[in-house]
């Protein structure tokens, strides 16, 4: 049965569906919240911070006995529950989970394996080995075209607002020194890190200085292009895919081999190489591993709804695993084949369709349990090939003690303070960091840099994040 029909069967009601495009919703959300008039059920429309501001949503935590599928979801994935839960335990907006297949960071370090094989080299395990490999890429014409056109290591221009929003920041190399980044989301993009429960800003650490020095060394030796920090993203991306025949790039941070277009077969992900003095057992990788699994803004119910029983039956049915799979990927049997209770497969019609056939991770409000597998998801193949390489390094840290979990949510007031401080800090910091990488000088200027960041609010920001980290995790 198509999943929408299962909902009406479960609630013994009729359902009036309204669908709004994401682009239009950005203009409609605030007026709807201000009006206090929200639909019986909203999907992918509101997030927990909206519920903090306007008391128009039902606390679903009080209805868990009528939501057994949601209760099972929260039992299996306590961090997903925390994404939705207020410090007092209320749950106004339910999250979703796409299941274990989506566990992992979206950011990886890719290397041209074809070049390595041609030159008889191994995947580098340390920074020294990486530098030697890059030197070979630069001097030994691994793409075989007779030109010295190889880009041994390509890095992206920095965002002006920190280390994140545009992804694939080269400071992922902090993981080589045991500082766990969380660059898919959250305050790690503004330098916040956590080590054994203590919050800090990595821009003030020796590890940060060490990465800057290493990048400068690589750039000064021509192993990173001298214009890397000024060239447009479009040029960077064009260099990754090259002409589809002759690769130009040796090493780059990217999502997966598919970022290299027709040359994707030449690339593999590599674990973070160990920095100076680091044991391989202490090297980590980006801790944004649950950000792609969970979404925190998936389902809200109007407070005091006059048909609450029917509404709760619909909500519970949406979180049924079978309904959830169909929500994410498309209705069964046309787009999804159920092989057995734990195994599904997308049909070819998913890929033949010119329209979107499922709500996808952006909109589906559901729960795919960890023991359910959905086969034939083409974009998962490249993701898993890249991310599985980091399985060992993911074991080298604790998600709660060594990262800022996505569920830690400062108050509006503190968020404003943090945002203002961050703006001041990064207006100053990013040009300085870029200059260090291009021209050097970090050793002489680092102490003054840290002092300046303190005057711009770094310590206050760290203290606020520590306060909210403690509130949510202890």
């Amino acid at each position: 049965m198509e999943w929408t029909k299962k909902l009406t069967a479960a609630c013994d009601c009729t359902i009036k569906w309204s669908q709004v495009m994401t682009t239009a919703w950005s203009n409609q959300k605030s007026p709807m919240l201000a009006s206090g008039s929200v639909p019986d059920i909203s999907i992918a429309a509101f997030d927990p911070s909206d519920a903090d501001k306007v008391p128009v949503f039902e606390d679903l935590n009080q209805h868990m006995d009528q939501l057994p599928n949601v209760a099972k979801f929260f039992k299996e994935q306590p961090n997903a529950k925390k994404l939705a839960q207020t410090p007092s335990g209320s749950v106004y907006v339910l999250p979703s989970s796409r299941g274990q297949q989506f566990y992992g960071s979206g950011q990886h370090m890719l290397i041209n394996k074809t070049w390595l094989d041609k030159l008889g080299l191994q995947i580098p395990k340390t920074w020294d080995e990486l530098e030697n490999v890059l030197e070979a890429f630069k001097t030994q014409d691994p793409n075989g075209n007779g030109k010295a056109d190889e880009i041994p290591m390509n890095i992206k221009k920095f965002d002006t607002t920190g280390f994140g929003p545009d992804w694939y920041n080269t400071f992922l190399l902090l993981n080589s020194l045991g500082i766990v980044t969380h660059f898919n989301s959250g305050p790690s993009q503004q330098g916040i890190y956590v080590k054994d429960g203590k919050v800090g800003n990595f821009m003030a650490t020796d590890e940060f200085k060490t990465v800057v020095k290493y990048l400068h060394e690589l750039m000064s030796k021509g192993l990173i292009p001298s214009d890397a920090l000024t060239k447009d993203a479009s040029k960077y991306n064009a260099e990754l895919s090259s002409d589809g025949k002759t690769a130009l790039t040796g090493v780059a941070f990217a999502y997966a081999a598919t970022d290299f277009g027709d040359l994707s077969d030449e690339y593999v992900a590599m674990p973070a190489p160990a920095g100076p003095g680091m044991s391989a057992d202490d090297v980590t990788w980006d801790g944004s591993v649950e950000t792609t699994m969970f979404q925190n803004n998936k389902l809200a119910v109007r407070a005091g709804d006059e048909h609450m029983d029917a509404v709760l039956k619909i909500v519970n049915e949406l979180y049924d695993p079978d309904v959830s799979v169909q929500q994410f990927y498309g209705s069964s049997p046309e787009y999804v084949t159920k092989k057995d209770d734990k195994t599904y497969e997308l049909t070819q019609k998913v890929y033949d369709s010119t329209e979107r056939v499922g709500l996808g991770g952006e909109s589906a409000a559901g729960w795919i349990p960890n023991d359910v597998t959905v086969n034939n998801i083409d974009y998962l193949t490249s993701f898993r090939a890249a991310d599985d390489v980091y399985a060992e390094q993911y074991k080298h840290f604790d998600l709660t003690k060594d990262t800022m979990p996505d569920y830690v949510r400062p108050s509006d007031t503190d968020s404003t303070t943090i945002s203002n401080n961050d703006t001041q800090m990064f207006d100053y910091a990013m040009p300085v960091i870029s200059r260090w990488i291009v021209s050097g000088g970090v050793d002489n200027e680092f102490d003054d840099f840290v002092s300046k960041l303190k005057t711009l609010g770094m310590d206050d920001t760290v203290a606020l994040w520590q306060k909210w980290y403690d509130k949510y995790t202890k």
């Binding site: 198509e2 999943w3 929408t4 029909k5 009406t8 609630c11 009601c13 009729t14 359902i15 009036k16 569906w17 309204s18 669908q19 709004v20 495009m21 994401t22 239009a24 919703w25 409609q28 709807m32 009006s35 008039s37 929200v38 639909p39 019986d40 059920i41 909203s42 999907i43 992918a44 429309a45 997030d47 979206g106 994140g164 929003p165 992804w167 898919n184 989301s185 999502y255 792609t292 979404q295 048909h307 029917a310 509404v311 619909i314 990927y329 498309g330 209705s331 369709s353 329209e355 979107r356 056939v357 499922g358 709500l359 996808g360 991770g361 952006e362 909109s363 998801i377 974009y379 996505d406």
Partner: protein
Amino acid sequence: MSGAQKNTRKRIIAGAAMACAAATMLAGCGSDTAGGDKPQIEILVVTQLTPSPPPRWSGPRS
């Protein structure tokens, strides 16, 4: 909910909302007929129209 509130919401989403029958991703949702005294539940879904599946599902959290 008052009638005035419902009208406000209708105005807010008018123009951008589409009936479910037109959306492949909500296949089948338009086939149920309103029945007698059964309650009617309104569900709003905010979606993207980009082809499925997306080339990359991750990104900064909204």
